[in-house]
């Protein structure tokens, strides 16, 4: 099936010289929820802004539903809705008018029934006459979503939809995103919470320092993210990992005082009990042990170093 968004070799260098995106290529499948996961400053907003026409790319191409976003921008943009990261609103506008305005901007004929439905879906109907400045932060974000949906886009970009949002609203937001997907909208959201990607996405792309380091089915990624590390603080430093422990993928710290073992915490057999038994059989003592979950940082580090090794 033709991808609904096709990004090829996209690069962005800002006027200051900062390279925010480096040769990013990515296909988004029709009807999926795609999470773009990455720390602050990774280039998520830049990527979204280019696709939506707010930032000019330095190199590369993007097609939305087969339409080039530069040459054929009208057709491309008609299909796309954007909820930006920041809550940019006209404080004095009533909710209804600001949503109707968005629909008009995208060239759609006015349709009160449609707008009513969008406002009801977002629990904004009671607030339709309220001025935006009278609304809470969470409500404002709903208004932004209503504006993005007003022209009935097939593709919706949500830039950090749950940043700074309370738990309840976050659940609501997730439910809303699922309903939208069920109605056939393709959704691309950005986040820096692993849990959010885990909860929501069908596929996840990890972006770091302007590079898309991997794109994977959520389940495959979660297996990677489920890795833990066992650190054994040895009673006696050792020169090399003994022959008898070669079954396990162990590494010795540089000062030779620690043995490290990475394992999949979700697996049936983690290999930890058998390793400890074998060590005691071999008479290798340890003073202390600790396990830690690999953090998003660790995963970025290991993914980027993997890439570098492969490239080398």
């Amino acid at each position: 099936m033709q991808p609904v968004i096709s990004i090829r070799n996209l690069s962005k260098r800002y006027a200051g010289g900062h390279e925010a995106l480096k040769h990013v290529s990515l296909d988004i499948r029709r009807g999926e929820i795609f999470a773009l996961l990455g720390p602050n400053g990774a280039g998520k907003t830049t990527l979204i802004s280019i696709v939506c026409g707010i930032v000019t790319p330095s190199a590369g191409t993007v097609e939305a539903d087969g339409h080039d976003i530069v040459r054929d921008y009208r057709a491309a943009r008609t299909r796309i809705g954007l909820v930006p990261q920041e809550l940019h609103t006209d404080a004095f506008e009533p909710v209804w008018s600001t949503v109707a305005f968005s629909r008009g901007l995208f060239g759609k004929p006015s349709d009160s029934a449609k707008i009513e439905q969008i406002l009801r879906d977002l629990s904004l109907w009671d607030k339709r006459k309220a001025k935006i400045k009278e609304l809470s932060g969470g409500m404002k974000r709903r208004v932004m979503i209503a504006k993005a949906l007003a022209h009935e886009p097939d593709i919706l970009f949500l830039d950090e939809p749950t940043a700074g949002v309370d738990v309840e609203l976050r659940r609501d937001m997730w439910a809303l995103v699922r309903r939208l997907r069920d109605s056939g909208v393709t959704i691309i959201l950005t986040t820096h919470y692993i849990e959010e990607a885990e909860e929501m996405a069908d596929r996840v792309g990890v972006i770091s320092k302007g590079e898309l380091i991997l794109v994977e089915e959520k389940h495959a990624l979660m297996r990677k993210l489920g890795r833990k590390r066992l650190t054994l603080n040895l009673a006696e430093p050792m020169e090399t990992v003994p022959e008898g422990l070669s079954e396990w993928d162990l590494t010795l710290s540089d000062d030779r005082s620690e043995l490290r073992y990475e394992f999949d915490a979700n697996a049936e057999r983690t290999g930890v009990p058998s390793l400890l038994r074998r060590m005691s059989d071999l008479g290798i003592g340890f003073k202390d042990l600790a396990t830690e979950q690999s953090s998003l940082e660790d995963i970025f580090v290991s993914l980027t170093s993997d890439r570098r090794e492969r490239a080398a």
């Binding site: 800002y14 006027a15 939506c52 026409g53 707010i54 930032v55 000019t56 054929d72 921008y73 009208r74 057709a75 943009r77 008609t78 796309i80 954007l82 930006p84 920041e86 940019h88 609103t89 006209d90 004095f92 008018s97 305005f101 968005s102 629909r103 008009g104 901007l105 995208f106 060239g107 759609k108 004929p109 504006k147």
Partner: protein, 258 residues
């Protein structure tokens, strides 16, 4: 909307949005020019005008009306157009028109079209107020309106550029205050440049505003300091310069897109 077609609904959405903002403050928006005009007549018309002779057969009070209208038209055009585009930049709401299926021409048409409407309305309100004080006969009403819209369009385009160039609200005020108002006062708004001694008369001819005011006054009284053709040519030249600048702004994304 079919591909490549004119997005008239998008233009209308911007135009309506801008006009609503104007209508929300319509009373202050119109009271200001009415009061200012009345004051001009009390001071210039009655106090000074009674001691001034006619200028080229036109009563002094009537003579200053086109200049007063132009003065307001310049300021209102620049203010409304620059504010109209600067505000969404300042608020960040500009992301929406930029991500909508609108061509640069359509965006400019929406914002500048609304600013032209507002500025022209204010100028006409001034004309209406002036008729309460003096008798005014307009020799070429069609040309008068055409001239009004042409000059408003030109200065609104200029204001649009100022609104994109400005980094803050102070910079928004600088251009009208430092350039336009002085040039207008020195541009024969309240006197005929005929009365100036040399070399001031020749120097004044380098002030573009002279041509606009003179041309506009011609539509009222049929007499002008400089030729009407020259006035029109000067206005069109400035209009084209503004259009070229805006074309460049959208091409390079200058202060609109990074």
């Amino acid at each position: 909307m079919s591909v490549g077609s004119f997005n008239h609904r998008g233009v209308w959405a911007i135009y309506r949005f801008e006009m609503y903002r104007f209508l929300r403050t319509i009373w202050t928006g119109l009271a200001t020019p009415v009061i200012t005009t009345s004051l001009y007549f009390v001071v210039f018309g009655s106090a000074i005008g009674s001691r001034m002779s006619d200028i080229g057969g036109v009563d002094y009070g009537a003579f200053i009306v086109p200049g007063l209208m132009m003065l307001s038209l310049f300021n209102e055009s620049i203010f409304n157009a620059s504010f109209g585009i600067h505000m969404p930049r300042f608020l960040g709401t500009i992301y929406e028109p930029l991500s909508a299926p609108l061509s640069p021409f359509e965006i400019v048409l929406g914002y500048v079209g609304a600013a032209v409407t507002k500025a022209t309305s204010v100028a006409l309100v001034i004309l209406a107020t002036a008729t309460l004080f003096v008798d005014i006969a307009i020799l070429h009403p069609g040309w008068m309106l055409a001239f009004l819209v042409l000059v408003a369009t030109t200065f609104c385009l200029f204001g649009f550029i100022v609104g994109i160039w400005a980094k803050g609200f102070e910079q928004l005020q600088i251009i009208p205050m430092l350039i336009v108002t002085p040039l207008t006062f020195l541009g024969g708004a309240f006197y005929s440049i005929e009365v100036l001694p040399e070399p001031w008369r020749t120097i004044t001819l380098f002030n573009p505003v002279v041509y606009l005011i003179s041309g506009f006054r011609w539509t009222f009284y049929g007499s002008a300091d400089v030729g009407v053709g020259v006035s029109l040519a000067a206005t069109f030249a400035f209009l084209l310069l503004c259009l070229a600048t805006i074309w460049w702004i959208f091409r390079t994304g200058y202060r609109l897109k990074s």
